[in-house]
Symmetry: C2
Subunit: 431 residues, 2 copies
Amino acid sequence: MRTVKINKDSIADILNDLLKRSPNHYEGYQEQVDAIVNDVKARGDEAVFEYTEKFDGTKLTADTILVTEEEIREAYDKVDPSLLAVIRKAIVNIRDFHQKQKQNSWFDTQENGILLGQKVTPLATCGVYVPGGKAVYPSSVLMNIVPAHVAGVKEIIMVTPPGRDGKVNPNTLVAAKEAGAAKVYKVGGAQAVAALAFGTASIPKVDKIVGPGNIYVALAKKAVYGNVSIDSIAGPSEILVLADDSANPRYVAADLLSQAEHDEMASAILVTTSEKLAKKVSKEVDGFLKQLSRTEIMEKSLDSFGYILIAKDLKEAVDVANSIASEHLEIMTENPFDVMTRIQNAGAIFIGQYSCEPLGDYFAGPNHVLPTNGTAKFFSPLSVDDFIKKSSVIYYSREALEPVHTDIETFAEQEELTAHANSIKVRFEND
Amino acid sequence: MRTVKINKDSIADILNDLLKRSPNHYEGYQEQVDAIVNDVKARGDEAVFEYTEKFDGTKLTADTILVTEEEIREAYDKVDPSLLAVIRKAIVNIRDFHQKQKQNSWFDTQENGILLGQKVTPLATCGVYVPGGKAVYPSSVLMNIVPAHVAGVKEIIMVTPPGRDGKVNPNTLVAAKEAGAAKVYKVGGAQAVAALAFGTASIPKVDKIVGPGNIYVALAKKAVYGNVSIDSIAGPSEILVLADDSANPRYVAADLLSQAEHDEMASAILVTTSEKLAKKVSKEVDGFLKQLSRTEIMEKSLDSFGYILIAKDLKEAVDVANSIASEHLEIMTENPFDVMTRIQNAGAIFIGQYSCEPLGDYFAGPNHVLPTNGTAKFFSPLSVDDFIKKSSVIYYSREALEPVHTDIETFAEQEELTAHANSIKVRFEND
């Protein structure tokens, strides 16, 4: 890991560098993705089956694209009982945390006959994308489905690419069933996103598509945005550890590597006020690299997007953390709750020596679908908010409208919208 | 206006027809918009000045692109005092309603040393697009800026195209100042959106871009989504009046026209259980068309996207309203609050004979930036929610992590993420 002293130029360079990981920079893939999306929109199932054969190496039909009850039973037979047990424990925590996010419809009244408010309604349907391939993450299934379930979405549909044998990974299936998916379709990639956005004979159109995926999935989600809603576009994972002298270098190193192992594009950054800690962490990282698997991925990720940044004081360290706006931010300082109050931008904030990132990935309850690539400046973690929408509610009595009706007419007339003014006027034309 | 009896086929046809108004169907413009966006991204101010000269017919420089304090004073001199008075009254109502939307940061604790919660932080900056050209809507300025202001956004930047004289409309400027804009730049179209998304020498990069605009603006917002956040992509305006025998046909007709006058692509639909009302409304519409200005726009809009739909009962009427998911929904039935409870999808719901749509456009307080084109199925009105984001907050003590640490390790190992497991393990390696 490179060690760099923080100054204006070094930070600008690093920020630029990190943004190269953004899905917004993969323009080369857009055309290919758009072609798939438009094809599925035009030809529906037929196109879905063709792309699945091409990309996943398995032939599907309208009869086999939907995972059957029997396949789910088979999955339960195959899944490791210890995994099933921890999935069930995690679901309790995830459900509990997301329950607390639920927003009520509300209204406010005035005594002359005015009621104003917001009606909260869950989305009717949603589609959850779950990646397949080399890496299977049942935790991701839980994190995407549980919030939808808690929000009250009636039909939660999961899509995930099948293996060459035409089957879905049993861990994924069991997680889906436990979390509350109504249906699971064996389809992945841009073709799955397009099918959910426009509907096909087999796959119903949904209101919103969520879930992480590769670059094809990310770009396809962007392409269908507006036809449906989507969650934020996920980029490669990242962690920023903000630490002072009090931090345990072994913990810091282990946590940096926990993100570096995800992906060659992942980013792991330590920002510290302590050069002593910096040296120790660097050494611990080297030690762990020799012990752990996935070494090649970790080394590439650290070479490309790993940094140890030396700050002159805590304020500078916090400023850098805010400008990077990391997906995961761990605070290991003497007074971590105080530092937390100063954090403007982060997907999830982990406080203290024992709140390590994998605790949030798997177990604590808050969502692990988090804004990446600096988008924590404006996006939020996946939550119940993603699966509801609001309608304004407006009631005015005649008594309430009467004293303000000429004001409203004035406003409309100033905007030269005479039919708007007329809509108010007719209600008082016989006065 | 066509009168159509509701059945499965007629509704499917109408829904298809209405969706043709969506910005998602204007693919012809995408290439042109992308070219402008990429050019501004690459060349910054220089490109902004060129496009402004080309599209708005005025030559800007780095010295004149920002509206000055003196220009704002001039605007106050020019604005009609009656408009200023009603703008101020409206702001009080809009601010009051949006204040009630504010969400608190929250946390929950468990007595073994667990704290979980969500930290709510306002966006640091936002850009508000305000259309110029033929129609000037100060109300739109208020509706976009006030929620950002209430949310606590520090720097609210407005962009709006200048006239050929290089000036911004005084009504727009006064509204911006009253609502709380920090700066106003004289730039419009896709070039303004790109400047806000990527930043130029003159125009700062923002976290989120909101505000309605023409097709160029809508597509540019979609193009930069992910680099910044955006509000939902606005399509042409629409109203659906759900009425029974008890409705006043003159009010219904006036309200339908209040949306039809916006735009040739606007849509005005009456859904009613009463054929008698349908006939009377049709007659009143014809009467108003002779009296009002903007007749040509209204006639075209009604011809293309205006319908009177006859439902066999209230349930069918509600079902149709839910499937259309109108931007504005007026309920003029005998028991309108009961009907409201059955509405799943609508941007804003106006209840009863005196709650007409222009009341919401200008005055009542709820936002008039609403989801269009059926997107009320998954999008919400513009609100304070749009100008905040959340960070998860996770604290576990050693005491809390210890009893679950092997569970988390199991989960990570099942996902073959050994560095994740290691991050937990190192914390207990000396036990």
